[in-house]
Amino acid sequence: MRKNIFTVITAGVIFVILLFYLISFQVRVNEQVVLTTFGKPAAVLERPGLYWKWPWPIQSLYRFDSRLKLLKSRFEETYTKDGKNLIVAASLAWTVQEPLKFLESVGTELEAEKNLRSVMRNYKNAVIGGHPLNHFISTDPESLQFDKIEKEMLELVAMETEERYGIGVGFVRIEEIALPEDTTAKVFERMRKERERIAERFRAEGEGEANKIRAEAESERDRILAMAEAEAKRIMGEGDALAAKHYAVFAENEELAIFLRKLDALAGTLKEKTTIVLDTDMPPFDLLEGMPGLDKD
């Protein structure tokens, strides 16, 4: 009998648990739930917690993630307003905003993504077509308009998806801007030319700068030398002037002074290793002609 009681209790517990499963459900923190009675929507539960329901097949549940989901657009060529061919990839974050509408119009996430993709493509291309290239790339930050472009895409996409599918859009972000294949080859050609030009400019700059430095150095050299020579001249002049003072004494007997200087100069000219040719008229070599006072004849 004791065995039986244990068995009954166990069976009871299992029954209660099963029943509990049938008539209750949880809404997790990142979920929202649509409850339907015989297929008709009965309630939308967005707050997390424990709820009661009639067991299947009376009431059934549809769970939707309430978090943002990311959808990446495909690569597609589009034209900008000024006719440039661009490939823009963007990602879109979406979420089920109105679960009821979502359930009625698309039902599943897969279906929702399919719809979103086509809506996104239409508006992405339309928005890009409304902006010139320099809103996407420009060395002038003023002309860049990523915020505006993304906002335009978001608003257009959101307007349609909210109304038709109950899908809210968290953000649209451009993830990649590329060029068509053939254009990249042209860009490379241009980049190469530009590099060559820059290299040429560097070479010319080097040459010019070097020449300038050399010329400056040479003119500096000339200047220093000229200054030194002027200084030397001044010093020598000073010497001459001071020497002249000493020569004042020469003025006392000019004739003698001149004579002495001539002799001095002569002595200076006739250094060693010279040959001098003298006339016997010159004393003291006049002695070679004969004794003075003696008549030759």
């Binding site: 990311l70 060395t139 990649e176 590329a178 294949e181 430095i213 030398l225 002495l260």
Partner: protein
């Protein structure tokens, strides 16, 4: 619980068939009793396992959250041992909040650079969707590779905001990088203003993460690599070479300039010092000359008739000295018949 195998206590007078039946019934009931007991044991173990399944550890680098019937209850759990009601009442989630995670964002070529039999083959074009790159503000192409380091700063936001917060972070990073690249010229992005580029990207990522409220804190944004496309890398290298050549030429000119100037300074000093020597010498010789003259003048005879003798005396003295000093002397005596040469000296 053992099965009685020796059949003890069975009446030997009963019919064999009846006996057999009884044995079978007995062993069946024994077997049932055994299975039931095993079942009970299993159930007890399952029950214990079920209750203890609520015990969990929050590691040192983690934070925990308990969801009760799907709703967040209580505060964040500190590292340590915790207990929650078992499924389906409670659910516990742990997140590595103290760990720095990294996500790599690459704008590198995917298909255009192939190594074919050891040789690098470069296609002339980049294929969209395969080769990733950024366009710079001046319409050029650059490749780059980034690492975004982040921590989970707000576990609740991390849990509830996005299905895949890491993917969202990646999207934000890619968006920030193309935005950053689109405002710089190719030279700025590659060489002259790389850090500003990186900082702009980092600021954009930080802002994007804050706006999206995905619960991340950006620890840093690293620009791992930035380089021109392989297709034009030679041209970029030649620019670098030209730049090096430029500085080499300028340095050479500077060296030349320095040597010229220092050399001329030496020359200038020599010129000046020569002049100074001249000055001293001139003054000294003037002094000596004037001294000599003064001495002569002391001896100088006042009367004019004696002057010639006096001068002759000096003259001959000096000429004598001079002539003695020269190597060869030729003295010519001329008359009507011809000339006589006296050659004094070492001769030819």
């Amino acid at each position: 619980m053992t099965v009685n195998m020796n059949g003890g206590g069975i009446d030997k007078n009963r019919l064999p068939a009846e006996r057999t039946m009884e044995v079978a019934r007995k062993s069946l009931s024994d077997a049932l009793g055994l299975s039931f007991n095993i079942l009970k044991l299993i159930m007890a173990v399952v029950l214990i396992l079920y209750i203890t399944s609520g015990i969990f550890v929050v590691e040192q680098h983690e934070a925990g959250i308990i969801l009760r019937f799907g709703r967040i209850t209580g505060t964040l759990l500190e590292p340590g041992l915790h207990w929650a009601w078992p499924f389906p009442v409670d659910e516990h989630i742990t997140m590595p909040v103290a760990r720095v995670h990294g996500v790599e964002v690459s704008f590198m070529p995917g298909g255009s650079e192939k190594t074919v039999r050891g040789k690098q083959k470069v296609s002339a074009k980049l294929h969209p969707g395969v080769d990733r790159y950024c366009l710079t503000g001046d319409g050029n192409i650059v490749h780059s590779k980034w690492t975004i380091r982040y921590t989970i700063a707000d576990p609740v936001a991390y849990l509830t905001s996005c299905e895949n917060p890491e993917k969202v972070l990646e999207a934000i990073a890619e968006n920030s990088i193309i935005r950053g690249a689109s405002r710089f010229g190719v030279d700025e992005a590659l060489r002259t203003n790389v850090d500003e580029f990186r900082r702009k990207v980092q600021a954009a990522i930080v802002e994007g993460v804050a706006v999206s409220n995905i619960g991340f804190l950006i620890e840093g944004v690293d620009l791992e690599e930035i380089l021109p496309p392989l297709q034009v890398r030679d041209a970029f290298n030649s620019v670098i070479r030209a730049e090096q050549e430029r500085s080499k030429r300028i340095n050479e000119a500077r060296a030349y300039s320095n040597s010229v100037v220092s050399r001329v300074k030496g020359d200038a000093a020599k010129v000046v010092s020569k002049a100074a020597t001249y000055k001293v010498r001139t003054i000294e010789s003037a002094k000596a000359d004037s001294q000599y003259l003064s001495d002569l003048l002391k001896e100088y005879p006042g009367e004019p008739e004696k002057l010639n003798v006096f001068l002759n005396q000096i003259y001959e003295e000096i000429i004598g000295e001079v002539v003695a000093g020269v190597e060869q002397r030729v003295i010519i005596s001329k008359d009507d018949e011809g000339e006589v040469r006296y050659i004094i000296g070492p001769g030819e």
